[in-house]
Amino acid sequence: MKNNIAVKVDDLTVAYNYKPVLWDIDLEIPEGVLMAIVGPNGAGKSTLIKSILGILNPIAGSVSIYGKSYEKQRALVAYVPQKGSVDWDFPTTALDVVMMGTYGSLGWIKRPGQKEKKIALEALEKVGMLPFKNRQISQLSGGQQQRIFLARALVQDASIYFMDEPFQGVDATTEIAIINILKELRKANKTVIVVHHDLQTVPEYFDWVTFLNVKKIATGPVKDIFNDDNLTKTYGINYKVSIQE
């Protein structure tokens, strides 16, 4: 049994414009799991990881990464934002975006050098995007853009990876490529937390799952808790409709 707790969330409550989006979330994520966060639209899935990462300010609660506050453990955490959150017409290349993953460890002012470039190229290789390294990012397909984002997170060489809808709008090849990388990460005892939309693939891809709909409904191993009961609790009576979305 895994007993090291990678991420611990205590009584986390988040409100947008003072409307509660997440309510009193208690969550413990063991080290080395590949976890999906599932729930209907507006359930607060992205909000949860954004609050853990300090992008949003919760109105109550606390988060700890391996027992210490997030600010102290930043280097252990990598983040893959939603693909739609940035402007892909930005004048930069694939390699350049991946290099951004090294900026955090570089700190202020210092520029990335040959060492950083090498790391970035390796990450590009891993996601199968090396031939596209000098491509302008708007000229990449949706799946390729997503792989670039994944490579950028890999560059951070973290222990815990947070990913916001990495499978959204990607082609089948990319989906397989991404899931293989995720499984590789798990093998290396990394913890991967994925906001996920497609309920059908949960048992196949993940070994841990959290059901979320404003409140935490359930969390645990997929084989134990991924059942109709929890799905109904999360998605309501018409959850089958939600699946098709």
């Binding site: 205590d10 009584d11 409550t13 409100a15 003072y18 409307k19 509660p20 309510w23 009193d24 208690d26 507006g42 919760p58 109105i59 109550a60 609660g61 606390s62 402007d87 017409d89 709909n213 404003v214 409140k215 309501g236």
Partner: protein, 386 residues
């Protein structure tokens, strides 16, 4: 009051009304900056029109200049469609270019054109009563009064004729298209009216300050109501009020009338911005503080419901785990106690029956995305607000 003074105020008021009507729709359609672009880019139209007609008040000139306004809108939309630059960069590229062409045209023909850029941009209302309209030798009033009067009549006519279409296409483009009102026609219709109004008003208040008269009254009204009809009425009232009071301010300071009208609009906006009952900054700040406490209260109540263990319900836990400052914890606890939601026994907090009911209902509403109902529920449950 002299005759001229009455006429000036009348012209200013008519301009204000003529601007407030299209302005309301521009603000609602998030196109306020388009009016700024139009106001600049009509300059070359005015100059060319002046070459042809030699008369600043000629209807032909107004049409020509309004056409430049439409061309601006088309150009902006074309550039946006190419995707070469981001949305509003297109606006920022088009109008300075057209405006510069206008300025250069004036400068190059300074001897033939008795036009001056300042006058076009800033207007001189004080001279308006001197340019009289003579019909068969009879003085029927200042020309600009007639021009802006005509524009206003047309605007009002169009407003009444197409009110329904305007309303639907402003709030729900998809619906209006499916009902068979072409959003494109309404869009360009509105752009045409805005352009014509801008041109018609420029020699009274100046092209740039037309923008103020279009946006400020509508924006101010929008802080007070979301009902379209009321918004139109408020906007017109604010416009007329600023026009009148602005005139007297200018009279007193011996300064530009247009500048004074804008300043009055600014003051009016400032006052409403601060003190509007629901959407003013002070109300918003107060409500945010109240809601902050109330959401904290909800959070706390839910926490109590989720946890039966005593340590999770201990008063100190609020500071330690929920991560609240002392003051905040105290406020929340007091509010919950005052409203009979909790009882504290030996520093251990428990929900009362009422608190339990309240929490269950609140959760239901939030999960089913009916957050708005929580506000009503608060009225039922709360004896004291946060």
């Amino acid at each position: 009051m002299s005759n001229a003074q009455i006429e000036i105020q009348l012209i200013a008021s008519l301009v204000a009304i003529a601007c407030a009507i299209p302005g309301t729709f521009l603000v609602l359609r998030k196109m306020a900056m388009i009016s700024d672009a139009i106001s600049h880019s009509i300059l070359p139209g005015i100059v060319i029109g002046f070459f042809i007609t030699q008369d600043l008040n000629s209807p032909l000139l107004i049409l020509l200049a309004a056409l430049t306004g439409i061309i601006t809108v088309i150009l902006v939309e074309y550039i946006q469609k190419t995707g070469l630059v981001k949305e509003d960069t297109a606006i920022g590229l088009v109008f300075p270019a057209l405006f510069s062409i206008g300025v250069i045209l004036i400068a190059k023909n300074a001897n033939d054109v008795h036009l001056d850029v300042d006058a076009v941009l800033l207007g001189e209302l004080a001279f308006a009563p001197f340019d009289r309209l003579l019909i068969a030798g009879v003085d029927v009033g200042p020309k600009s009064l007639w021009i802006i009067g005509c524009i206003l009549l047309i605007t009002i006519g169009l407003l009444f004729a197409f009110f329904k279409e305007l309303k639907i296409s402003t709030f729900d483009v998809g619906l209006s298209a499916s009902l068979g009102f072409s959003p494109t026609i309404i869009h360009y219709g509105l752009m045409t009216v805005s352009s014509v109004t801008t041109v018609g008003a420029f020699d009274a208040v100046g092209a740039i300050l037309v923008v103020a008269l279009m946006i400020a009254p509508a924006a101010t009204a929008y802080l007070l109501t979301t009902n379209l009809k009321r918004m139109l009425v408020y906007a017109i009232c604010f416009g007329v009020f600023s026009a009148m009071s602005g005139y007297w301010l200018a009279h007193w300071l011996d300064a530009s009338i247009a500048g004074s009208i804008t300043t009055m609009l600014g003051l009016l906006f400032l006052v409403i911005y601060l003190f509007a009952p629901n959407k003013g900054v002070i109300a918003v700040l107060y409500r945010e503080k109240q809601q902050r406490t109330e959401v904290s209260l909800l959070t706390f109540l839910l926490h109590l419901r989720n946890h039966s263990e005593e340590e999770e319900r201990h008063v100190n836990h609020l500071n330690e785990h929920i991560n609240w400052q002392k003051v905040r914890s105290k406020t929340v606890l007091e509010l919950a106690l005052k409203n009979n939601m909790i009882v504290i026994d030996n520093d251990v907090v428990s929900l009362t029956e009422k608190g339990n009911d309240f929490t269950s209902q609140a959760i239901d509403y939030i999960i089913t995305n009916e957050d708005s109902k929580i506000e009503h529920m608060k009225d039922d449950f709360f004896l004291f607000r946060g």
